[in-house]
């Protein structure tokens, strides 16, 4: 090969400025219009040779290198319209020439671009007139177009080829089928054209200087439709059935996508394939398409490709289509995604997780019963997170993990289904504490809203393990802010206890035991929310066991165990600062033990004793003390289980505490309330009327020491009312005489009262009481003996 310098090197030019571009485009368009008109005139005069010259002239405008792809497109369209006129003329056959002759004739043109545009135009007419088999013409045209290696010009020439031949492709049901060829010929034709166009398109990035690369890539991107149209055209061929697609179309497409090694092209073309071909085709070619994803260039957004594909298939199923199990869709995706992630180290973790999330959706839509598929996905996700040493510090990763974790909750709703997953929680651990708490909340909410009940200890264990961020702090540093949100969250967890349900008391108890282990971990601020419902539930269980006493001989032991449990839990609570609650709970326990019958006396005694001990050791505020005393009295009064000795011990202790209250009104009231422990109307045991009288006297004495006359009057009236109760129920020590004396005492004391508003109201209470006695006098002769002096 000989080299010879010829002519001075031309100045290398970048694209022109926008203004210069517009000018160049404008000028070129004018030429195209003028020459197009001239061509049309010649055609009207049936002077084909001259017309071809004009056509060649306006096509020559497309030889420019000055225009940006976008402007070149505008010019191309202009020329395209003119060429369609030429083709119409050729089809009218007024020229009297054989198409073969014309086909040769246009090939004498010295410049290749006009030559090929004309050749394609004539070729198109050649096919249309059926003077040659479509197949031969198509093959020839697509081959000859190789002469244009300039990316933009080549791309548009081939676009022209593709456009004018699109209605002339031999295909099933087309008029060009048969002698003109068959679908396979059309497929070959489009594939070759596609391959060449893609090569040119990819090559566009190397035009011009590196400085403008970004802009060029943008412009190149705008032309992607031209390349993609070929794939769409393949999908429109009637004769492209599954077999053809599988054996011919897809392998060729993938081969080109793979070998072009261009990020933009690979991304776009994969997406087009997924878009344009039917779901059924994809289902049968998953292997191939996923395999090729593994070899795409780094930088290709594989996530969007895979997600696109899987979402498509999910929708396919959602429309009611069935996927044959033989296709092993899940297995294929699962294993290939593994391969892809392994080979494409550059896929960000959040993308891998998004892919898995899509697979999860697909799996759930296609195989709603296959929980092991879901499990596989979580296993994979956790492996990826482990391999990539994720620590929950990347917001995007966290977002995807949360999405992945929420999907089974949103889908299965019933928490029992989710609990059956072996690997779900493995993924949770890659989140930080706050995120794990969010997951835990979601799990809890889902359980409460959608799960009728949880029936196994194992399930309880798992559930509470999963939501452990709500139950305990991760480290001592994490401070709990006991605000409304916290309360709401803890109440939510607490209400989980109500879901635990099993007809078998033993199993239910096992669940409570498990729950206790978890729920006790959280420290005072949490257990005050979490343990209380557990105690109530346990007591309910004990009472339930009592109801089975006729069928189940062992109920006693079982119930005992439950009470021991309740005792332990309450004791645990009492060790914190929650004394009042503990007192209340112990009394509650005692009541339950009472319900269960005599066998539980000791237990009940123990419970009340615990309440008293806590009272003594820890309850200090006077209001709290009064409340506790009232509660203790009320409870003791309602219990029927105790032996005399035990009862005596407890009541004595209670009376003692009552008499030690500091505030006078509190002490007075406690003392007169204690009377109920000595004498109860229908009880045979509690008939110690002497102690009632004793206590009443003591109460009067205490009240009398108080200085505020209105309050003092109140206390006297209250004691009077108390006495009326005993008189009504015929307690022997409280006689009409005694009541009369009390009324006289109150009358005497009321002289001392001032005229304040409190005093007036207090008096009114007294008047009401007296009115009651008066009304009683009319019906009950016993009341007649009560003397009322004042008016």
């Amino acid at each position: 090969m000989t080299a010879g310098a010829n002519g001075a090197p031309t100045e290398k030019r970048e694209f022109l400025t926008d203004e210069e571009q517009n000018k160049a485009l404008h000028d070129a368009k004018i030429v195209v219009k003028q020459q197009g008109l001239a061509m049309q005139r010649c055609l009207d005069q049936n002077n084909l040779m001259e017309a071809l010259k004009h056509a060649s002239n306006f096509i020559s405008e497309l030889r420019t290198s000055l225009l940006s792809p976008k402007n070149y497109y505008v010019l191309y369209i202009e020329a395209f319209d003119q060429l369609r006129n030429l083709e119409s003329y050729l089809l009218e056959e007024k020229h009297g020439k054989k198409m073969a002759e014309l086909y040769e004739l246009v090939q004498y043109a010295g410049n290749i671009l006009p030559r090929l545009y004309l050749l394609v135009t004539v070729g198109s007419a050649y096919i249309k007139l059926k003077e040659a088999p479509a197949r031969d013409v198509l093959r020839d045209l697509v081959e000859m177009c190789r002469g244009i290696q300039h990316p933009t010009r080549g791309l548009f020439l081939r676009t022209y080829l593709s456009e004018v031949t699109k209605d002339k492709l031999p295909d099933i049901g087309s008029e060009y089928e048969g002698r003109g060829g068959n679908t396979k010929d059309s497929v070959e034709f489009i594939l070759v054209n596609f391959t060449e166009m893609n090569k040119l398109w990819v090559r566009m990035q190397h035009q011009g200087s590196a400085r403008e690369r970004e802009r060029r890539e943008l412009e190149r991107s705008e032309l992607r439709l031209l390349v993609g149209k070929n794939i769409a055209r393949l999908s429109q061929l009637e004769g492209v059935d599954l077999a053809t697609y599988q054996k011919l179309v897809l392998p060729k497409l993938l081969e080109q996508i793979n070998s072009c090694k261009d990020v933009i092209a690979q991304q776009y073309l994969m997406e087009v394939i997924i878009q344009v071909f039917p779901d059924d085709f994809h289902l049968h070619t998953l292997d191939a398409i996923l395999q090729s994803c593994a070899t795409l260039q780094p930088g290709v957004n594989i996530k969007s490709i895979l997600v696109g594909l899987m979402d498509r298939l999910s929708n396919y199923v959602a429309r009611g289509e069935n996927i044959s199990p033989e296709l092993r869709v899940f297995e294929t995706f699962s294993s290939k995604i593994g391969l892809i992630v392994e080979q494409q180290k550059g896929i960000p973790t959040e993308d891998v997780l998004a892919i898995e999330a899509s697979l999860l959706n697909l799996s759930i839509s296609c195989y709603p019963d296959k929980l092991d598929y879901v499990d596989t996905i979580f296993k994979f996700a956790s492996d990826v997170l482990a391999a990539r040493k994720e620590d929950g510090s990347k917001p995007l990763v966290v977002k995807q993990i949360l999405h992945l974790l929420n999907t089974p909750l949103d889908t299965f709703k019933n928490i029992l289904t989710v609990l059956r997953l072996q690997n779900y929680h493995l993924v949770i651990q890659y989140l930080n504490y706050d995120s794990r708490k969010r997951v835990a909340l979601n799990i809890t909410r889902t359980a409460i809203q959608h799960t009728p009940s949880i029936g196994e200890a194992e399930g309880v264990n798992k559930l509470l393990e999963w939501i452990s961020p709500l139950i305990q702090s991760e480290s001592p540093q994490q401070e709990i802010i006991d605000d409304d949100d916290f309360a709401e969250e803890q109440n939510l967890v607490a209400s989980l206890v109500h879901l635990f349900e099993n007809k078998d008391p033993e199993q239910l108890f096992a669940m409570y035991t498990v729950a206790r282990t978890h729920l006790s971990k959280g420290g005072p601020k949490r257990i005050k929310y979490l343990l209380v419902p557990l105690i109530f539930r346990a007591l309910r269980l004990a009472i339930r066991l009592k109801r089975t006493e006729e069928e189940d001989e062992g109920w006693l032991q079982k119930a005992q165990k439950v009470f021991v449990f309740a005792h332990e839990v309450t004791t645990a609570l009492s060790k914190t600062e929650l004394h009042e609650v503990s007192v209340r709970l112990f009394l509650q326990c005692a009541q339950a033990a009472n319900t269960c019958g005599d066998s539980f006396e000791t237990i009940a005694y123990e419970f009340v004793k615990e309440a008293l001990v806590i009272y003594e050791d820890h309850i200090s505020g006077s209001a709290a003390q009064l409340n506790a005393i009232v509660l203790i009295i009320g409870t003791l009064q309602s219990l029927s289980i105790f032996s005399e000795d035990n009862y005596e011990t407890l009541t004595t202790k209670t009376a003692l505490y009552a008499s030690k209250l500091l505030k006078v009104p509190d002490r007075c009231r406690a003392i007169y309330l204690v009377t109920h422990l000595f004498w109860t109307p229908n009880s045979e045991q509690k008939k110690d009327d002497k102690r009632v009288l004793e206590a009443i006297r003591k109460a009067i004495k205490v009240a009398d020491t108080y200085l505020d006359s209105a309050v003092k009057n109140d206390l006297f009236v209250e004691i009077l009312n108390e006495c009326l109760y005993y008189f009504e129920n015929a307690c022997e020590s409280i006689t009409a005489n005694y009541v009369s004396g009390l009324i006289a005492l109150i009358d005497a004391k009321s002289q001392e009262m001032d005229t304040s508003e409190e005093a007036f109201r207090s008096k009114q209470g007294y008047v009401n009481t007296l009115n009651f006695i008066r009304s009683k006098k009319e019906s009950d002769p016993r009341y007649g003996e009560i003397e009322i002096k004042s008016s």
């Binding site: 073969a100 030559r115 081959e143 011919l248």
Partner: protein
Amino acid sequence: MNFFRSVLGGAAKIDIALKDAAERQVVEIPTSQEGKTEKLPLYIENEAVVGSVSITIDNSSKKLEHMGISVALVGVIKMNGNIHEFMNIVKDLEPAGILTENKSYDFNFETNDRSYESYNGINAFLNYYVRVNISRSMATKITKQIEFWQRNYSNPPDTNSNIKMEVGIEDCLHIEFEYNKSKYHLKDVIIGKIYFLLVRLKIKTMNISLLKRETTGSGPDVYNENRTLSKFEIMDGAPVRGEAIPVRLFLGGFDLTPTYKDVVNKFSVTYILNLVLVDEDDRRYFKQREIVLWRKADRAKKYTRIEGAQTYEEGLPTDGGRSPDEE
């Protein structure tokens, strides 16, 4: 003038008529004068040259004294002002005497060897004539000649291998080109491919031009005259490694002759395909290769299929030697 003729033995007019002139194919030949053409009867190979000569005696002289009348078939090469008759076959029509009335003679050059074609070249011309001479003693002879155009057909060449060459500039550009034949008839199509094996240049365009080279003289006086008959762009833009660019050049539209080698040891006409690559700095890289042209017997052209489309059917390697039909 008439006076002299009558004085010096009379005057006469010669007409030469070729047989079947009306039916015979004529060819339009550019003359040595720029832009002018003439139409000449066409004779193929050793076809007999048959015709008649009529002598018309000038009315004023009534008789013609002559030293003999003859007709000759003459082949002439004109080159740089020199004329060389390489053929001159003479037939006597009339012995010396006096012709008193108009007379016609038939002639028939039945056996002769016209193995050279008529040729109007740049510096060289080869022409055939039928020439009639009336020799006279005292006066100049009366001569009339008419030209006819000679063409010879060849049989298809026995061997016609394709042309395949790998050329290049080291580490810069390697291409392999392939033309389907080495010998083409004048209405033939050159079909070929250019394979780019290595491309490190920014190529802008690639052309094929068909050169005609007319060689005259011999030894130290040899002189070459080159003409570019066509410049044909076959590629636009920069190819990358692995591209195969198709070549299809129809010869029918050009004014071509067969290849002539050493015609009467006077001149030769050869044809050369010149492949030219031009890079972005307008540097040109080229490779020339001679092809042989031959004249094929005319026959009615039938368009049964696309010229050149046999690229596929006849297995001329397309890209990678794979034809799309194999699967």
